[in-house]
Symmetry: C2
Subunit: 198 residues, 2 copies
């Protein structure tokens, strides 16, 4: 199994974290997140979105989108609930992550830490405002809960952990987000946890 | 069952279309997409993202995120494949839709058709460039296929149809996207299809 990976990408980290916790071995091919000139030749036949992570399964079948990869591997384990409503709520958080969270936390982090050029401070600040909106939604939800879905650790927690735990690298201050910080610690204490640098 | 709905939203249309095709009855509450001042009081206890569509099931349980709602209702039907890889590929397209498609087609459409104020033309054009990138990904994929996943009509087609079929309202020209246009016609010919105005 081959993971088209990026060491700095939280989206790729989600997959590395889950595969570690499931004890699944794989190989990695590093995708350049700055020079994207070879994306179509490298990923065109594997993933229409030309994004990493993309995984090629043992039988040669490709699969893209970090959260779809999480669902594929978590299927049949407690990390993706079997009950219909709990499963849908896990997906709800995965879609929340890609639509309302990642663009406003991962993207400023990329600009500040990895990009060759960064946009105007106004644009970074506009993203960050929406990132705080996403963090506030998580704080409200986690205020009286241990995990995002039904009080069990699931791939919803893995997906949201990936960029939330490095939000400081995007200029976010989590000091007032008590429930989020306690949840981050609970996720990091799960068996088989690995850091983003692993 | 109560759907927090918006008549003009493609995300809500996805849910209305699926429920029509499954023959499921529901009531609607219209959510204002311009004046968002009552969002927290209206949706705060139902959906952390405060977005429509949000659905309240017959037993009072709320569920948010359009594509998670699609998965919930399509579960157990041919519209969400049971086989592990086909199911993951359906999710792959749903995540593609929310991350790489909707922000660049739905948002310009909202600005041009419904918003009180619109941003600078440069910003609309920047979104539209990424919208064309999403449409090109679909065109490559549909070039030799009838539907997005395994040659069967699924909720992946419903999700991508929602804003692709009104892309002209966002200033897109689909005339060179032959495979996409033929696919749009196939989706619109499915039994139980309803227009976005239904």
């Amino acid at each position: 199994m081959l993971l088209y990976d990026s060491a700095v990408s939280g989206n790729c980290y989600k997959v590395r974290l889950l595969l570690s916790q499931l004890g699944i071995d794989y190989e990695r091919a590093e995708v350049d997140v700055i020079d994207r000139s070879n994306r179509l030749s490298m990923l065109g036949a594997l993933n229409p979105a030309l994004r990493q992570p993309t995984i090629v399964l043992d039988d040669g079948e490709p699969l893209g989108e970090s959260n779809a990869i999480l669902c594929y591997f978590a299927e049949g384990t407690p990390l993706l609930p079997a009950a219909r409503l709990a499963r849908a709520r896990t997906l709800q958080w995965l879609f929340f992550e890609q639509y309302s969270h990642e663009p406003y936390i991962a993207v400023p982090r990329f600009w500040l830490k990895f990009a060759n050029e960064r946009p105007l401070e106004d644009e970074i600040e506009a993203r960050r405002r929406l990132g705080y909106t996403a963090l506030e939604a998580m704080e409200r939800h986690l205020h009286e809960r241990q995990y995002l879905v039904e009080e069990n650790y699931t791939i919803a927690d893995i997906a949201l952990y990936a960029y939330t735990h490095v939000a400081d690298e995007a200029g976010f201050d989590l000091s007032s987000f008590t429930a989020v910080r306690e949840w981050l610690a609970r996720v990091a204490a799960q068996p088989g946890h690995v850091p983003i640098t692993a």
